[in-house]
């Protein structure tokens, strides 16, 4: 009897703690009620989560530009779970929003819920990540980065930078999380760009899981197992930042002894670029809010939009980094 009571108390604590956990993990989660009037467009947006600085900047951009564009935003945070996103989309359909936009957590399994949206005549926009479905009528358009192009840009910079080099150029690569779309595509684009020149040799390529700690650990091992490293290509800034520490620990100068090219252009990366420790960064822009709001307006008005729209992205060298660093938001 005593134990049963105790178990009930315990279960209560467990569920309570779990509930607070969900609340905490949400960060800016939950749905914010809009204040729009009769004529305004209502946009339901389901975000992946708040897993990185990039994502946080992405969320903020969408929230800010919705306000600026006078669009009533219903924002929902899925905390990296597909079922949360599906639930959010169903609730958007019930609330009869004008447009639904979301960043899919995974590529597959969206057909059913998107058919429901289609039946309810609510157009859907995908942002930042694509879905894998043969039925392209399920969404109006995809707004996001072209990861292959980002990799290609990094490779193209390399061919220019080492145009006059005569000997072999030994490259080590820090890949993103194994199997993720950005890791696969950035590797592919880079390989394409350097394929035509035989002097470029990728001598080692390992995953640094997009984190600083792993980037440092893997780079330490590269520095010991490879006799000569000329270039480091990192799939994101964070891994490059970790690798910089490893290179410095080995008594070499990052940016000079070993040239570094990376992708993303987050604030810390831009700082390292301005300091001369990174040589070149290809931008992966999270600030797609303004572009998204334009699209929402067009779609809501029934205008035709292209099936795929790329976010506006640029590249930075060291001089340009010094210039833009003070205004960098993320």
């Amino acid at each position: 009897m005593k134990y049963r009571k105790l178990a009930a108390v315990a279960a209560g604590i467990v569920s309570l703690t779990l509930f607070t956990a969900c609340g905490e993990a949400g960060g800016g989660g939950g749905q914010t009620p809009g204040s729009g009037g009769g004529g305004t467009i209502t946009l339901g947006f389901s975000q992946v989560g708040a897993e990185s600085g990039w994502r946080t900047a992405n969320t903020k951009s969408i929230q800010d530009s919705a306000k600026a564009a006078g669009i009533d935003l219903k924002f929902s945070d899925a905390q990296q779970k597909q079922e949360n996103q599906i639930r959010a989309i169903r609730s958007f359909i019930q609330q009869k929003v004008k447009v639904i936009a979301f960043s899919p957590v995974v590529e597959s399994g969206w057909d059913t819920v998107l058919k429901e949206a289609k039946t309810a005549n609510i157009p859907v926009i995908l942002t930042d990540r694509a879905i894998d479905s043969p039925d392209t009528s399920l969404y109006k358009t995809f707004l996001g980065s072209d990861f292959v192009k980002e990799g290609r840009k990094a490779g193209e910079w390399l061919t220019k930078e080492f145009a006059s080099a005569t000997g072999d150029v030994n490259i080590v690569e820090l890949q993103g999380t194994t199997g993720s779309a950005p890791a696969n595509d950035r590797k592919k684009g880079f390989a394409e760009a350097i394929a035509s020149t035989s002097k470029f040799k990728v001598v080692a390529s390992q995953t640094g899981e997009f984190t600083r700690a792993k980037g440092k650990e893997v780079m330490e091992a590269f520095l010991k197992s490879q006799s000569k490293i000329d270039v480091l290509y990192a799939h994101n800034d964070d891994m490059a930042l970790g690798a910089i520490e490893a290179i410095e620990g080995a008594g070499k100068k990052p940016g000079t002894d070993i040239k570094i090219v990376s992708i993303d252009a987050v604030r810390d990366g831009m700082q390292a670029l301005a300091d001369g420790k990174i040589n070149y960064i290809v931008e992966c822009n999270p600030l797609l809010g303004p572009q998204l709001m334009d699209l929402v307006k067009k779609v809501a008005a029934g205008e035709q939009v292209p099936q795929r729209i790329e976010t506006e992205e640029t590249e930075f060298d060291q001089a340009k980094a010094k210039e833009v660093l003070p205004q960098r938001q993320y």
């Binding site: 105790l6 108390v9 315990a10 604590i13 467990v14 703690t17 779990l18 607070t20 956990a21 969900c22 905490e24 993990a25 949400g26 960060g27 708040a50 897993e51 990185s52 600085g53 994502r55 946080t56 890949q175 194994t178 199997g179 080692a204 390529s205 390992q206 995953t207 899981e209 997009f210 984190t211 600083r212 700690a213 440092k216 650990e217 893997v218 330490e220 091992a221 590269f222 010991k224 197992s225 964070d238 930042l241 970790g242 520490e245 620990g249 080995a250 008594g251 810390d268």
Partner: protein, 345 residues
């Protein structure tokens, strides 16, 4: 010598190191560079130090028959709160400020460990469930502290914890060695170790024998939290930043594996700190091997799984007996005799 219970894990570690040496002859070379020791072996020690810390704490918890899944989250929280405190300081290089950050982080880790301990020892919740709460909620808490961002700090005394060197030796490994020696002395030179093994072996019997098992169990979770907190400081200071999402992700599983490879049974009872350290070094060596041999990332997990499975199989007396029996049919009787001897002993 084969009978010694640390023989097989040590042998596996040596085989792995030798394999690296054959593939890459400079593997064992250690030189002095930038005023500190530099080489692959030093890397293994340096990057293995956080895992050793977490695994030592985990050994105590597992010895009492429990398990602590929340260590990864505690690692993240500890690094996050320390970096948050440091980033708010005007002079990040001040020793006092760094000490404050370390103090806050370790204090919080102890509190979190104590919470786990209360859930398990006072409220009698199964350890795997009790610590699962903090494993899930803790990661959220770490994200809340860092606001989903990576906090970068610029503090040389803080950076020294995980990335610095004293007398050419990495600070992190010195900390790990100090904790190992302290814990071993405490456990083996007093009755504490025996009491822990008694509680792990049979909590009810030890309670009836007058052992305050509840307090002991609570204490192991506190120590485990503290160890995870130290590991969190090492990980975050090594890269001078706190990453609430990824710091210490899945380290609880590596730590449990290190404990098991080290010969401590998950059912509780007998435990070995030395075995745990060897287990942790084995796991870290495995990662370094992947990088050195250039095993493609897609097959990394498979490679690690195969090695770990081989180590576990070779440690299993039943498996070894089967292997011997298949090769030479004769020693069957001898093996059976061995079994009998063990039973009567």
């Amino acid at each position: 010598m084969i009978k010694h219970r640390l023989f097989w894990p040590t042998a596996a570690l040596i085989v792995l190191l030798l394999g690296n040496f054959i593939a890459h002859p400079a593997f064992f070379s250690v030189e002095l560079r930038e005023g500190h020791l530099y080489g692959s072996l030093i890397d293994i020690l340096r990057f293995g130090a956080p895992l050793i810390m977490v695994a030592l704490g985990m050994t105590l918890v597992i010895a009492t028959g429990g398990i602590d899944l929340s260590v990864g989250s505690v690692v993240a929280i500890s690094g996050a709160i320390a970096c948050l405190h440091l980033s708010g300081l005007e002079n990040q290089d001040s020793l006092g400020g760094t000490a404050g950050a370390v103090g806050i982080a370790l204090g919080l880790s102890i509190v979190l460990g104590a919470c786990n301990g209360v859930l398990v020892s006072v409220l009698n919740i199964q350890p795997i469930i009790a610590t699962l709460i903090l494993m899930v909620a803790g990661r959220g808490l770490a994200q809340l502290i860092t606001d989903g961002q990576i906090i970068t700090v610029n503090s040389s005394p803080y950076q020294a914890i995980g990335g610095g060197f004293v007398l050419t030796l990495p600070v992190s490994i010195l900390i790990a060695v100090a904790v190992f020696v302290l814990a071993s002395l405490l456990v083996r030179k007093s009755a504490l170790g025996m009491l822990l093994e008694a509680v792990g072996g049979n909590p009810e019997a030890s309670r009836l024998a007058g052992v305050r098992s509840r307090r002991l169990i609570w204490l192991t979770y506190v120590v485990c939290g503290l160890c995870a907190g130290i590991a969190g400081l090492m990980i975050s200071s090594n890269v001078s930043s706190a990453d609430g999402n990824n710091a210490g992700l899945w380290i609880e599983l590596d730590a449990i594996l290190a404990v098991v490879i080290g010969g401590t049974a998950l059912t509780g009872g007998r435990f070995s700190f030395a075995g745990t350290v060897i287990g942790a070094l084995l796991i870290q060596t495995l990662s370094t091997t992947v990088y050195t041999l250039g095993i493609p990332p897609q097959t990394t997990l498979l490679f690690k799984a195969v090695v770990v499975m081989a180590v576990c199989l070779v440690q299993s007396p039943a498996f070894r007996r089967k292997l011997v029996r298949r090769r030479k049919p004769k020693p069957v009787t001898r093996a059976r005799q061995d079994e009998k001897v063990e039973v009567s002993a």
